[in-house]
Every structure is written in structure tokens, then in C-alpha cells.
Amino acid sequence: MRVDSHFEAFTFAVLSIAILLNLFRSQNSKCNNLKISGVSLLFAVLSVLFLAKSEPADTSKLLKVIDVVAPIKQNADARVQPVSSTTLGLFNLEEMRIHSVMDISAISPNFYQPDYGSKMTSSIYIRGFGSRIDQPVLGLNIDDLPCLNKNNYNFNFYDIRKVELLRGPQGTLYGRNTIGGVMNIYTLSPMVYQGVRLSAEYGSANSIRAKASFYKKVSRKFGYSAGAFYAHTDGFFQNEFRNEKCDWGDDAGVRIRTSWHPTRKVSVENIASIGYTNEGGYAYSMFDNQTNVQNPVSYNDPCEYKRINISEGIVAKYSGDNFLLSSVTGYQFTNDRMSIDNDFTSESFFTIIQHQKEHALSQDFVLKSKEGKQWQWLAGAFGFMKHIDMNAPVTFKEDGIDELILENANGGIHTVFQDADIMIEENEFPIESNFVVPTYGAALYGQVSRNVGQFTLQIGARLDYESSSMSYNNSALIHYRFTKTMPNYKALTTVFKGKERLSFLEFLPKASLLYNLTNGNVYFSAAKGYKAGGFNTQIFSDILQSKMMNNLMSDLGVHLDGVGSTTYNTASATTYKPEYSWNFELGSHLMLIDNCLQLDWSAFLINCNNQQLTVFPQGKSTGRMMSNAGKSRVVGGEVSALYKFKELTVGVNYGHTNARFVEYNDGNNSYAGNFLPYAPQNTVSANAAYKIHLNKKVIDRIVGACAWQAIGMIYWNEDNTLSQPIYNLLSASLSFQKSVFDLTLWGKNLTNELYNTFYFKSIGNNFFSKGKPLQAGITLTINL
């Protein structure tokens, strides 16, 4: 099929997209200019791409080729390895409408990324463990380039060639923050796919998603590609106080890739991408635990998250006769700004703006033997450095000054002087918080495998060093007076500055024994996982608030019992230690029923020490921090089955965890025996798709698909008093395919299930974030 022969169809498609966009253009008031500019840019790209008149791809022939990626550290087929894994190829991802890491929740057993907050949130839970802030439990590599900032984990997928999620600790090969697993994402390369790919989508909440990309293989030695996407939503949740949707959002991105294969043995790939996000989010509503009533979202200060991230990666490979030498060089820049109403009430307590700039450099060298040998080995050296410059002022507003500062102080004063008050002149004042956090690390690692008969024994180890420091400079200036004695306001400055350092030297071993069957394998593995320690920058506003109270009282010569004291009153007390785990796993990968049924299962035991938990200080605190719990233990299992027979595809995935504290005492209570919060105990996904071939004059085929996901139960707190029961999400799609066109009608959460995705406390109040309601839409895809 040539482009020329489809000129009319292409024109029709572009016009259709334009009409769709114009349908909501008049209705959408927010960010209209950006949206129109983005769409204009997109279609300008489309025009250029079209004029290039590339040869279109016969995608059906490329299906298997595209999905086969040769990772630099793993085997091409994860199912021949002693590891639990989920692999999704380009067409799986597009058919299942997977647009982000979040959409893989439950599709990969015991993997869960809840949808709440903003794209900065990116909380991920695997096998009962997870992390709300700071260090993630999952390592993310995009085209073999490690993503060193969790804030970037939530991004829009487009033209993703393959997603491979390896569950269980992967620290030996991938290092820090892979205690729960590693997700390897590979983008589409012009060397395996050539053509133009277009799609446009319109759905509930005036949501649109448009994408255009172009892949050109100039010669056997050189290819290039360019792609862009744009997405918008008006949002699903109304902020009653502000009378506007709070979770609106705009996203855009560009990716340019060049592939140069000067010889058959040498390849150099350059992947550059830019991402832009500007969104609301934070649809948090207050929960009254006396009446069990969840109130609507209602807060007075706007919430917003903006991010620009740039990634540049160079992947060079040399293929020798018996080895493969790879080099992955990466630079990542992130500039993001979160602005939130931190009390999430209609009162003016306090807001926080967190603005950070991060530069990150990484280099990985990997020398690996070729597959299929009796001895297989891998050796690598990794280094990284990143520099974060962050300022995060917390602004205390009128109600916050009255209730969080003066109420406490005057409460004691009034018992002696009923008619006198401490007053603060400012209606609002900022607690300035500035941090500089440089981190660097280096590691040496290796792995050896030996085939003996049907057995494969594999051992590996990594020596990983990481060093980090935090320079902090926090200050606040207020003017105060005591009405009984001070006719005028007096300036009071509180300063808290200093530097903290952390360093870790870790040994991360693993071992496994795999027995090859005629139709698969059975394996046992043991591996150590490691999550780096760090600094609690989010508790500094609490510390400074406490110090300011002490200063004020000291300046007044008043000593109130307990006022101004806090559990965390020094910077050194706010650091947290690394988390360690040992994962013992028995599993199997099988092909059954004439290779129609692909069955994977595993059972695992994880013992975790120093588990990192997000905790809230007692009382009306404004911050949160990572703390190390004592010990925890997880027992669980995973089953994945994929059945393909003729035009029917059925997939079922189930994961279960029993994750409990073994030792954890926060100073007030012991939580031994309680379930770990936030991670679901069960994840279920089942999906089925059936293709019907029709008369080719009108429609080539119809593809009907449906999917069911069930997630829960999730406990929200350490004492297990609040929980989310198992919730069910039903989705379905119907695709009409003709030649290069695919028109899909789809729906998500078809039963409009009510459920919560997140819980937290702020200044003593309880909040939940609801899951998105029923959604429906239409998608047009064109692959030329």
C-alpha cells in the first residue's frame, strides 16, 4: 500500500480529527490557546510527515519483529529466565489502551499504581511494598536509560515497542530502588518499523489524545523517526469551593530517534525526548470519620503541577563473535513545580510550592556473552550523578496562623491573661525552604550462568556505593506582639540551616536454579533488594514552625509546657535509612495445550528490614516524612495465563499478597501483625478479545474486547482501621478496522464503580481521593 494511493483517506482522517477537536474547542475554556497551538503543531508535523511520502509499513508482517527487543542485560525472552515477568508488545499496548505505567496495574499481577494526585505522584506498589514519596520500589528504564527521578515515572505512552516488567528485587543488575522490580520500556525504532502512525481520540470530560509519528529507514545503516503527542482533559472532579474542575490537564511531548548501524557489528542509537505537563489534579475530599461521610472536593487555593523534562540517551553496541558490549549514556533534566493547597479545606491554612530543577547524568557499560552458550556471563560498571536544586516555601495563611500557631500559644496564655493575646501582624507569611541535594553513585556488577544438563545455575552480585548530601536553608520572618505589654509589633526571625550527609555501600547478591522442561521451566531464586536512604525535605516546614514557636516564646520569656516541641526537631533526625529485603521465589513458565496456553506462576516470600514508610507527625502537623519501620514480611503468589486460539485471545492475571508488619512501633503503638498500608492484597485482571472477519468492501474486521479488573483490599493506615474493599472495573471496546484505519469505541469503568485510590491526613483531617468515574470515547488510528 502506498501513501499516494491513500491521499484522500489521509486527508479525510486529518479533517475528521480537526472536526473532532473543534467540537470541544468552544466548550473548553481552560488552556484553549495552548490546546489550539498544540493541535496546530501536531498537524503541522503531520503535514510535513505526509509530504515526505514514505513507504508505508505492512504492519502485520512486523508484529513479531517489533516485539522482539534484545535487552542489554536480559535475555530477549524474559520467560526463559528465573524471574516473574509481564511483557506487553506494541500491539498489546495499543489494543488494551495502555497509555501509561498506571494502566498496567493488575495486568501485571501484584503491580499497582493508583491514579491520584498529579503526574508527580507516581506511587507504585509491587508485591505488597510501595512508596508514596521519595525512593520508588520500581526501577524504570526507557530504552535502557535509567529514569533517576520518580517524578517522571508517570508519562504518556506513545509508540512504545515493548514493556517488560520484572517482579522481585533486581538490584544485582539494576542497582538502587529496584527492590520491587524493574520496568524496561522500549520505544519504537525506525530500524524495525517504517511508516506513519496517526491517532486521535475524544472521550469523556472533553478528553482528547492525538499522536503523529514518522519512521524512516533511509538505508540498512541509517534510520530516523520523529513523533509528537498531545493530550488534554477538562477533568472529572468538581472543586465545589472554586466551582471548577480540579483535575484538568494538558500534556505534550516530542521524541526524535536516530539509528546508525555503520557496520553489522556496531550500532549507535540516539533517543531524545521532551515532555511537557501542565495540570490540576489533587481531587482530594475530606472524610468525616465520625459520620463516615466523604465530602465533595472543596478547597480554596488552586492546585497545579507543571513539568518539563528532557531526556537524551545514547545507546552504543558492539557485537563481537562471542560477546556484546553496550554503553548507555544518559542525561536527564527535570524542571517541575507543584503548587498545592496543602490543607485541602476551604479555609486558608497553608499552601506549598515545590519547585525543583534536577540534572542527572548516568553511564552504564555492559559486557555480555551471547545467548545459547553453556557458560553465560555478564559484567557491568555503572555510575550516576544528579543534582537537585529545590525550593519549597510553605505559606501560612490567616487560618493557619490562627489555628496552627496562635491557638496553641494563646491557649496557654489565656489561662493566665484572659484578656491578652499574642498577635502576628502578617495575614500570611512564608517559611522559606531551600535545599541543594547532590547525589552520586557507582557500582560494579556481574552475573554468571552455567547450563548443566537440564539445569541452569545462575549467581550474581553487585557492589553499589552511593553518597548524598543535603544543604538546607530555611527561614521565616514574622512580626508579633503581646497585647498586654507590647504596643508595637516586633520582628522575629527564625533561621534553620545546615548540611547533612549520607552514604551507603551495599552488596547485592542473587542466586537461582532453573530446570528446563520440554514445555517450559521451573525455577527457584533468592535475591537481595535495596532501596536507598535519603532526606525528608517535606518535614522541614514542621521543624521550622516548631522552632519559630520556641523562638517567639523565648523572646517573650514564656515557657509553655509541650508547645513548640516536635518529634523531629533536628535535621539529622529526619534522614531515613536504606530498606533491604530478601526475596525467595519458586516459579514456572509453561506452554500448554499445543502452545495455545501460556502459563506463568510464582510463589514468594519476602522479608524486609527497615521498611520505609510515609508517616505523619502527631497533632496538627503540616509535613510528612519517610520513616523506617522495623520489619515486615510478605507471602504471596502470582498466576498469569494467556490463551490464544484462532481469533480468540483470553488473558487472566491474579496476584495475592499477605503483607504484614513483623515489628513496627512508632513510639505510641505497636503494629506488629497488621497489614502494610496502601498495597492491595489482591489484583485481578481478565481480558478477552475476539476478531470477526467481514466482507472487505466495507469493513475488514471487527474486534470486540472486554476487560475486568479487581483490586483490593487496601488498608489505608498502619492500625488497619480504614480500608478500601475490593473494587471492580469493567471496560470494553469495539474496533472497526478497514485497511490502514481503525475506529474504536471504548468505555472504562462501565459500572461507574465508586472507590478510593488514596488516603492521607493533613493537620489532623482525613482525606480520600476517588477513582475516576465512567468514561467513554472514540479513537481513530491510522497506520500508513
Partner: protein, 150 residues
């Protein structure tokens, strides 16, 4: 001979003067000092509120024979949830060879950033003897006494 006699007289005169100055330095010198002791407050209801380990700083002022007294973290009643730093300025003192006598009347104390006329100090009488500070006064309507430990 006259010169020798004159010199002897001059030396005798100086010696005489040195003896007078030695006698002046023998009085107790008032220096900045912190005294820790027990405070007892008459509650005017037949009971007394006693607070131990109260710190009292004494600082002489330059140029006159007065001193300032800062009482750190004091409470005057068991019902007071807060403790205060209270400053009493302008306490007159006279030194003898054995002790320092303190006195004052109608002094408005300083606390919580300013003056507290409700707790005007009257009938302040005290001594510093052998490193022990003791005084009594009426703070507002509450008589109180303080005696430091040595």
C-alpha cells in the same frame, strides 16, 4: 637630711593612703551572678506555692548602685500553666564588708515583652550574704520570698 625626712613623710603618706583603699575594697562586690533556689508565694488564702530550682540572675547596672534581677521560668501559682521570665529593674543595693543589702519599692516588672503594672513590686528587701541571695517582696498582691542555696 631634709630630703630624706621629706621622702619618708611622702612614703608614710602613701602608705597611709593605701591602707584606706584596702579598707574600701573589703566591702562585698556586686557582680553578675545566677542564684538557684526556692521561691515561696503566699496565695493569700492561707497556703503557699513553692517552686524549687528557680534561677535568678543578678546584674549590676553601670554608673549607679542599682541592679537588675531576672527570674527565669517562674510560676506564682500551681494554676499557672506557663512559666515566665520576669525582670525587676532598679533594685538599690549597698555593700558592706559582710553583705549586700537590697531594697526597692514600686517597681514595675518587665515580662512577656513589656511592663506589667498589675504586678508592681513593693517592699522589696533582700541580702546577698556569703553567696546566698535571699529576698522578699510583694508582687502585685502576692507576697513572696526567695532563698538561694549556696
Amino acid at each position: 637630711m631634709k630630703i630624706v625626712l621629706l621622702t619618708a613623710l611622702v612614703v608614710a603618706a602613701f602608705v597611709s593612703c593605701e591602707k584606706d583603699e584596702d579598707q574600701k575594697e573589703a566591702v562585698v562586690e556586686v557582680v553578675s551572678e545566677t542564684y538557684v533556689g526556692s521561691l515561696s508565694v503566699n496565695q493569700n488564702d492561707g497556703t503557699f506555692f513553692t517552686l524549687d530550682s528557680v534561677s535568678v540572675e543578678v546584674n549590676p547596672t553601670d554608673g549607679d548602685s542599682t541592679l537588675n534581677m531576672i527570674m527565669r521560668g517562674v510560676k506564682f501559682s500551681s494554676r499557672m500553666p506557663v512559666s515566665l521570665d520576669m525582670t525587676v529593674n532598679g533594685i538599690a543595693y549597698t555593700s558592706t564588708t559582710t553583705n549586700v543589702s537590697l531594697s526597692g519599692n514600686n517597681i514595675i516588672p518587665i515580662a512577656m515583652g513589656g511592663e506589667f503594672p498589675d504586678y508592681t513590686i513593693t517592699n522589696y528587701v533582700g541580702t546577698i550574704t556569703d553567696g546566698v541571695l535571699s529576698f522578699s517582696m510583694v508582687c502585685g498582691k502576692y507576697p513572696l520570698t526567695f532563698t538561694s542555696t549556696k
